[in-house]
C-alpha cells in the first residue's frame, strides 16, 4: 500500500459513441415529455433526462475500468469523481420524484386532472395590457399631495 501510483485517467478522451447515443435518445424523449401538460408526463420526462445525464457522466469519465477501490491497479481503475457526483444525483432524483408526485396528486385532488393549467394571474395581466390599463396596485389618485396651489384654489383649509 506504500507505493500508491497516480491513477491512469486519460488526459484526452475518445468518447464512447454508444453511450452518447443513449444520452441523445433519453434526453430527446425526456424533453418531449417534459413539454407536456400532464404533470406526471413532465415528471417522467424529468426522470428520463436525469437518467440520460447520469449516462453523460459515464461518457465524460472516460474509459470503463475496474471499480475504484484502493488496492485495485490504479492504471485500470475507473474515475471515481464523476461517480461520486452521480451518486448524490441519483438519490436526489428520488426526492424529486417524490415531490413531483405529491404535487401531481395534490393538483389532481384539487382540479380533478394532473394537467397544469395556464396561470390565471398572468392571463389577468395580459388583459390589463390589452386594455391599456395600469396594474391594480397602482395608486391612481390624481389628487395633489399639496392641497395648496392653483388647482385647489377653491378648496378649503387642511386644518
Amino acid at each position: 500500500m506504500t507505493a500508491l501510483a497516480r491513477a491512469g485517467f486519460e488526459s484526452t478522451l475518445t468518447p464512447n459513441l454508444t453511450l452518447v447515443l443513449v444520452v441523445v435518445g433519453l434526453v430527446a424523449v425526456g424533453t418531449a415529455l417534459a413539454l407536456d401538460r400532464s404533470l406526471v408526463r413532465v415528471l417522467l420526462g424529468m426522470v428520463l433526462i436525469g437518467n440520460g445525464v447520469a449516462v453523460l457522466y459515464l461518457v465524460v469519465s472516460g474509459r470503463a475500468g475496474r471499480a475504484p477501490f484502493v488496492g485495485e491497479d490504479p492504471a485500470t481503475m475507473s474515475d471515481p469523481l464523476p461517480q461520486a457526483m452521480v451518486l448524490t444525483a441519483i438519490v436526489i432524483s428520488l426526492a424529486t420524484i417524490g415531490f413531483l408526485l405529491a404535487l401531481s396528486y395534490r393538483l389532481w385532488q384539487i382540479s380533478g386532472t394532473d394537467d397544469v393549467p395556464d396561470d390565471a394571474e398572468d392571463a389577468r395581466i395580459q388583459r390589463l395590457a390589452r386594455d391599456d390599463e395600469t396594474s391594480e396596485t397602482y395608486d391612481r389618485s390624481e389628487e395633489s399631495t399639496t392641497t395648496s396651489d392653483e388647482r385647489a384654489e377653491a378648496g378649503e383649509s387642511r386644518g
Binding site: 500508491l4 497516480r6 485517467f9 488526459s11 484526452t12 468518447p15 454508444t18 453511450l19 452518447v20 435518445g25 433519453l26 434526453v27 424523449v29 424533453t31 415529455l33 413539454l35 400532464s38 406526471v40 408526463r41 417522467l44 428520463l48 447520469a54 449516462v55 465524460v60 470503463a64 475504484p68 477501490f69 481503475m77 475507473s78 469523481l81 461517480q83 461520486a84 452521480v86 451518486l87 428520488l94 426526492a95 420524484i97 417524490g98 408526485l101 405529491a102 396528486y105 395534490r106 386532472t113 397544469v116 395556464d118 398572468d122 395581466i125 395600469t134 396594474s135 397602482y138 395608486d139 390624481e142 399631495t145 399639496t146 392641497t147 395648496s148 396651489d149 378649503e156 383649509s157 386644518g159
Partner: protein, 964 residues
C-alpha cells in the same frame, strides 16, 4: 466624532423604552444627545478656525475604501452646528407638541433621534461612500417621519413621493461617487487636496452628483416633494425641511464647489436652476392659504437661492453661502415652530380664518416678527447680512466677469432681485396671514400655549437678531472655507453696514417692490391666476410613475405567458440556439470509439426502445414501467463501466420509485388525458429531438476538448492517506467533496418536508397510530398473525405469504443496511445505499401490513429523523474544529472495544450516519405521505360516504377490523 454618532444610535435604540415609560418627558432627555454634540462643536471651534481640523479614522472595509473617516472642516462645522442646535431645540419643542397618549411616540422618538445622528454623520464623514450611506439613511428615516400618520392616504403618497424623488437623486449620486472613486479616490480631503482633471468621466460624475444634491434640496424640477412633505408633523418640517435634510444638498454643492466648480454645466445646474427655483418657489408661495405650505414654498425658493450662491465658485460667494445657510436655518425653523404653536392654539393653519393673534400671542408673534424680518432681509437681521453679501458676490462676478461672462452675472442679479421681492411679499403675507387682525374675520379663539412650547421658537428668533448684530464677529469662523474656493480675492468680512453700495440699493429696491406686491395683493393674485403653471413637477412625477407602471404591465404581459410548456420551451430554445449552435459550428468532433464492451450496445438499444415507447403509451402505469426499465438499464451501464456503488444505489432508487409511483398514481385516472391531433405534439417532438442532438454534440465536443489530466488522478492516494478509506467514491462523498454532500442532503431534507406538506397540507404531525393500540379486545386474533398490522387490513388485501416473508426479511434488511453503512468506507455501500435499504425495508412493511404496520415498524415522526440526521451530519462536520482541525476533516482513531478488541474508527462515519438518517427519514416521509396519507384520505372519503347510511359506527377502523 464616531462616539457622538454612537451616542445618537444608542439613544435611538433606547428611545422606544424611554417613550413608553416617560411619554413626552422623554423628549428633553433625548434633546441632550444633539445638545452634547453641539457643545462639543463649540469646544473645538477654535481648532477648526485655526485649521487644526479634528480627524478620526476607523478602518471598516479597507478593500472597498469604505472606512469610517471623519473630519471636521469649517463647512461641516457650520452645518453641524445648525443640525445639532436646531435638533436639540426641536426635540425640546416636541415635549409640548405631542400628547402623552400619542400611541406612535415610541417610533417617532427613535426615528427622529436616529435621523439627527445620520445627519450629523453626513456632514462629519470624510469618505464619499460613507456620505452616500448617511445620505440614504436620512432619506429612509425622513420617509418614516413624513409618513408619520400612515392612516392617511395623502401622508402615504407624500412620503412615497419624497422617497422616490430623493432616492432617484441618491442613486444618480452614487454612480457619480463611484465614477470618481474608481478613477481617483473616495476620500473627500484627498479630492480637495488634489482635484482630479475635468475629463469626460469626471464631468459626467459631477453632473450626477449635482442631480443628487438638487433632488435633496428640492430644486426645480424636483421641488414638488418638499411641499408634499408638509404632511409630516410640524417639528419634522422645522428640522428636516428647514434646518437639516434639505441642507444636505447645499452641503454637497458647497463641498464640491472648491473641487469641481470649473466643470461645464456646473453653473447651469447650480446657478441656473437655483435662481429659477428661487423665483418659482416665491411665486407659488404667494398662492398659498395654508401658512405651513406658504413656508414650504418659501423654503423651496430660499434653497434655490442658497444653491445658486454656493455654486457660484468665488470666495465672496462661499462666505455668503455659509452666512445664508446659518441665517436660513435660524429663521425658517423659528417660523415652522411658530406655525406649530399657532396650529395647536387655534386648530387651523388657514390664513383666511386666522385673525387677531398678534397681540394675544406675543411670545409667538415677536420671534415670528424677528424671523420674518430676517427672511425678508431687513436690517439688522441675520438675513439682511447674508443677502447683502450674496448680492455683493454676484455684483463682484458681474464686474470681474469671472468665473463666467458678466452678462450672466447681471441676469443672475436681476433674478435675485425679483426673487427677493417675492420673498418680501410672501413674508408679509405670512406675518399678516398668521397674526394680523383682518376686517370681517372674527378673532380666532385660542388656547394659551405652555411657556415651554414657545421657548424654542423664542430662542431661535432671538438668534436671528443676534446673528445679525454680531455679524462682524462671524466672519473669522467662516473664512477658512471661503478661501478654499479657486476664484476671486479674499472677501470683505460680513458687516451690517458697508456704506451705500449697489447691493444695498438692490436690497432697497426689492424691499419696496415686495411691499408694493403685498399691498396690491388682490390685483397681483388675479394676475397670477392668469399665468398657467409652467413648472409642474408633480404632474410630471405622476406621469412618470404611470408610464413605469404601464411599461411593467406591457413587459409582463409579453414575457409572462403563464404557460409552463412555453416557459420551458423558451429555456430549451435558448439552449439549442446558443450553446448547441456554438458546439455545432465551432466545435471539433473528436475521434470516437464504438463501445467499451459490446454489452453496452445491447443495454443501450433496449433503453432507447423503452424510452420511445413511453412517448407512445397512454397508460400511466405502462409509462412508469418503461421509464423504470431505462433506470435499470442505467444501473447495468454502471456495472459495465466499473461503478458498483452507483449500480447498487441506482437499483435501489429505481425499485423505490416504482413503488412510490404506484402508490401516488393509484387514485388518478389510469390513462393520460387525451389531446387528440394537438398541433403542439409535433413541435414538442421536434424540440425534443433538437435538444437531444444538441446535448449529444456538446457531449462529443466537450469530452474531446479535455486537455489536462483530471483532478481525480490523486484521489486513490488522497482517499487512503487523508480519508482513511479504500472505497474512493465513498471517501469522495464524506471527505474530499463532503461540502457538496452536505448541500445535497439539505436538498433531501427540503424535498422531504415539501412532500409531507403537500399531502398533509396543514400539519406534518401525522398522528402515529400503532397497530397495538388498535388491537381488538379479543387478543386471539393476534395469535398466529405474522404482522400485527395485518389485522387492520381488509381480508381481500391481505397476503399471508407476503406477511411471512416480510416478517422474515425485515430484520435481515435492516442488518444489511447497517452493514452497508459501516462497510461503505472500504467496500461498496455507504450512507446513501444503507439508508435506501432501510427505507426499502419500511416500504415492505407498509405494503405487507398497511399503515398501522408502518407506524409499528417506525414509531416516530419522519421529520424528527430527518432533522436528527442533519444535526448529526452538521455536528460531525463541525466537530473537528473543537480539536483544532478544519471543518469536515477526517481522523482515524484506534480504540479497544470489548469484545471486538482493536477497532479502527474513522470519524467520517458519523457524517455518513447523518446521511443515512436523512435518507431513511426521507423515505419514511415519502411512504407516510404518498402511502399512509393517501390511505387515510381514501378512508375518510369512504367514511363520509358510508356515514350518511350508517351513522352509528363512527370509527372507520372498528368497522374494518370488525369484519371476520
Amino acid at each position: 466624532m464616531a462616539q457622538l454618532l454612537l451616542l445618537h444610535l444608542l439613544a435611538a435604540a433606547l428611545a422606544p423604552w424611554l417613550a413608553k415609560s416617560l411619554r413626552t418627558k422623554a423628549f428633553p432627555l433625548l434633546a441632550l444627545v444633539p445638545a452634547t454634540a453641539f457643545v462639543w462643536l463649540l469646544v473645538v471651534a477654535t481648532e477648526v478656525r485655526d485649521g487644526n481640523l479634528p480627524t478620526q479614522q476607523i478602518p471598516w472595509v479597507p478593500g472597498l475604501e469604505l472606512d469610517l473617516d471623519f473630519r471636521l472642516t469649517t463647512l461641516s462645522w457650520v452645518v453641524a452646528l445648525l443640525v445639532t442646535g436646531v435638533g436639540a431645540l426641536v426635540l425640546l419643542y416636541c415635549t409640548w407638541y405631542f400628547h402623552d397618549d400619542d400611541p406612535t411616540l415610541w417610533r417617532f422618538t427613535s426615528v427622529f433621534t436616529a435621523f439627527a445622528g445620520a445627519m450629523l454623520g453626513l456632514v462629519l464623514t470624510d469618505n464619499f461612500l460613507m456620505l452616500y450611506v448617511f445620505w440614504e439613511l436620512t432619506t429612509v428615516l425622513s420617509y418614516l417621519l413624513i409618513g408619520h400618520n400612515p392612516g392617511s392616504s395623502t401622508n402615504r403618497r407624500a412620503a412615497m413621493q419624497a422617497l422616490l424623488v430623493t432616492t432617484f437623486g441618491g442613486l444618480a449620486m452614487l454612480v457619480g461617487i463611484i465614477a470618481i472613486g474608481v478613477h481617483h479616490t473616495y476620500s473627500i480631503s484627498g479630492l480637495l487636496a488634489d482635484p482630479p482633471p475635468l475629463d469626460a468621466v469626471t464631468v459626467a460624475a459631477v453632473v450626477l452628483l449635482l442631480v443628487g444634491a438638487l433632488s435633496k434640496s428640492a430644486l426645480v424640477p424636483f421641488h414638488f416633494w418638499l411641499p408634499g412633505a408638509m404632511a409630516a408633523p410640524t417639528p419634522v418640517s422645522a428640522y428636516l425641511h428647514a434646518a437639516a435634510m434639505v441642507k444636505a444638498g447645499i452641503y454637497l454643492v458647497a463641498l464640491l464647489a472648491p473641487i469641481f466648480s470649473g466643470a461645464p454645466a456646473w453653473h447651469a445646474l447650480t446657478l441656473g436652476l437655483g435662481l429659477l427655483t428661487m423665483v418659482v418657489g416665491g411665486w407659488r408661495a404667494l398662492r398659498q392659504h395654508d401658512i405651513k405650505l406658504l413656508l414650504a414654498y418659501g423654503t423651496v425658493s430660499q434653497l434655490g437661492f442658497i444653491v445658486a450662491i454656493a455654486g457660484l465658485g468665488t470666495k465672496t460667494a462661499a462666505l455668503a453661502a455659509l452666512a445664508l445657510v446659518l441665517a436660513h436655518g435660524l429663521f425658517k425653523s423659528t417660523l415652522f415652530l411658530v406655525v406649530g404653536v399657532v396650529d395647536h392654539a387655534t386648530g387651523t393653519r388657514d390664513l383666511r380664518r386666522l385673525s387677531g393673534l398678534g397681540r394675544r400671542m406675543l411670545p409667538v408673534s415677536v420671534p415670528a416678527a424677528f424671523a420674518g424680518l430676517s427672511m425678508a432681509g431687513v436690517i439688522p437681521m441675520a438675513g439682511f447680512v447674508s443677502k447683502e453679501s450674496a448680492l455683493e458676490s454676484l455684483w463682484e462676478e458681474a464686474q470681474e466677469a469671472a468665473p463666467f461672462p458678466s452678462v450672466y452675472g447681471y441676469v443672475a442679479l436681476a433674478a435675485v432681485v425679483v426673487g427677493s421681492a417675492l420673498t418680501v411679499a410672501y413674508t408679509c403675507r405670512f406675518l399678516w396671514g398668521a397674526f394680523a387682525t383682518k376686517p370681517g374675520v372674527p378673532p380666532t379663539p385660542i388656547t394659551v400655549p405652555h411657556p415651554g412650547f414657545v421657548l424654542s421658537s423664542l430662542l431661535l428668533g432671538v438668534g436671528c437678531l443676534a446673528l445679525g448684530l454680531l455679524a462682524p464677529l462671524e466672519s473669522p469662523w467662516l473664512m477658512p472655507y471661503a478661501v478654499t474656493l479657486p476664484t476671486g480675492s479674499t472677501p470683505e468680512p460680513l458687516a451690517l453696514w458697508h456704506g451705500v453700495t449697489v447691493p444695498l440699493l438692490l436690497s432697497v429696491v426689492s424691499l419696496g417692490v415686495g411691499v408694493a406686491l403685498f399691498v396690491q395683493r388682490e390685483a397681483f393674485a388675479r394676475a397670477q391666476s392668469r399665468v398657467p403653471a409652467l413648472v409642474d413637477g408633480e404632474r410630471g412625477f405622476a406621469r412618470t410613475l404611470r408610464a413605469v407602471d404601464r411599461g411593467a404591465v406591457e413587459t409582463t404581459a409579453v414575457t409572462q405567458r403563464g404557460s409552463l410548456p412555453i416557459y420551458l420551451a423558451s429555456i430549451l430554445l435558448v439552449f439549442v440556439a446558443l450553446p448547441g449552435m456554438a458546439a455545432v459550428t465551432q466545435g471539433r468532433l473528436p475521434e470516437v470509439r464504438l463501445w467499451d464492451n459490446p454489452a453496452q450496445a445491447v443495454v443501450g438499444a433496449l433503453m432507447i426502445a423503452a424510452a420511445v415507447l413511453v412517448l407512445v403509451t397512454r397508460r400511466r402505469l405502462t409509462a412508469v414501467m418503461l421509464v423504470g426499465a431505462t433506470g435499470y438499464g442505467v444501473a447495468m451501464l454502471f456495472v459495465l463501466h466499473g461503478a458498483p456503488d452507483l449500480a447498487i444505489t441506482q437499483m435501489l432508487v429505481e425499485t423505490v420509485s416504482l413503488v412510490v409511483f404506484v402508490l401516488a398514481l393509484r387514485r388518478m385516472p389510469t390513462k393520460f388525458t387525451r389531446h387528440p391531433h394537438s398541433p403542439s405534439r409535433t413541435w414538442r417532438l421536434g424540440l425534443g429531438a433538437a435538444v437531444g442532438a444538441a446535448v449529444g454534440v456538446i457531449a462529443l465536443v466537450a469530452s474531446g476538448g479535455r486537455t489536462t489530466t483530471p483532478v481525480s488522478v490523486d484521489f486513490p492516494t488522497e482517499a487512503y492517506t487523508f480519508g482513511h478509506g479504500k472505497n474512493i467514491v465513498n471517501v469522495t462523498l464524506v471527505d474530499i467533496r463532503a461540502w457538496d454532500t452536505l448541500g445535497e442532503v439539505s436538498v433531501l431534507v427540503a424535498a422531504a418536508t415539501g412532500i409531507a406538506s403537500l399531502i398533509f397540507v396543514r400539519t406534518r404531525n401525522t398522528r402515529l397510530s400503532r397497530a397495538t393500540a388498535k388491537a381488538l379486545p379479543s387478543s386471539n386474533a393476534a395469535r398466529g398473525t405474522w404482522l400485527l398490522g395485518g389485522r387492520t387490513m381488509r381480508k381481500e388485501k391481505r397476503s399471508v405469504i407476503f406477511e411471512v416473508v416480510t416478517r422474515l426479511v425485515f430484520h435481515i434488511m435492516l442488518a444489511t443496511s447497517l452493514y452497508l453503512l459501516f462497510a461503505g468506507h472500504n467496500q461498496p455501500g455507504g450512507g446513501f445505499a444503507g439508508g435506501l435499504v432501510a427505507g426499502l425495508a419500511l416500504v415492505v412493511r407498509y405494503l405487507a401490513g398497511g399503515r398501522y404496520e408502518l407506524d409499528e415498524a417506525a414509531p416516530f415522526d419522519a421529520g424528527l429523523l430527518v432533522g436528527l440526521g442533519l444535526l448529526v451530519a452538521v455536528g460531525s462536520a463541525l466537530a473537528p474544529l473543537a480539536f483544532g482541525g478544519t471543518i469536515l476533516e477526517t481522523t482515524a482513531v484506534d480504540v479497544t472495544l470489548w469484545p471486538w478488541g482493536e477497532v479502527h474508527l474513522v470519524t467520517s462515519i458519523f457524517f455518513d450516519i447523518g446521511v443515512y438518517l436523512i435518507v431513511v427519514g426521507m423515505m419514511l416521509d415519502i411512504v407516510r405521505s404518498l402511502g399512509t396519507g393517501i390511505d387515510r384520505q381514501i378512508a375518510e372519503e369512504q367514511q363520509s360516504e358510508q356515514e350518511s347510511e350508517r351513522e352509528d359506527e363512527p370509527d372507520e377502523l372498528q368497522r374494518e377490523v370488525a369484519r371476520p
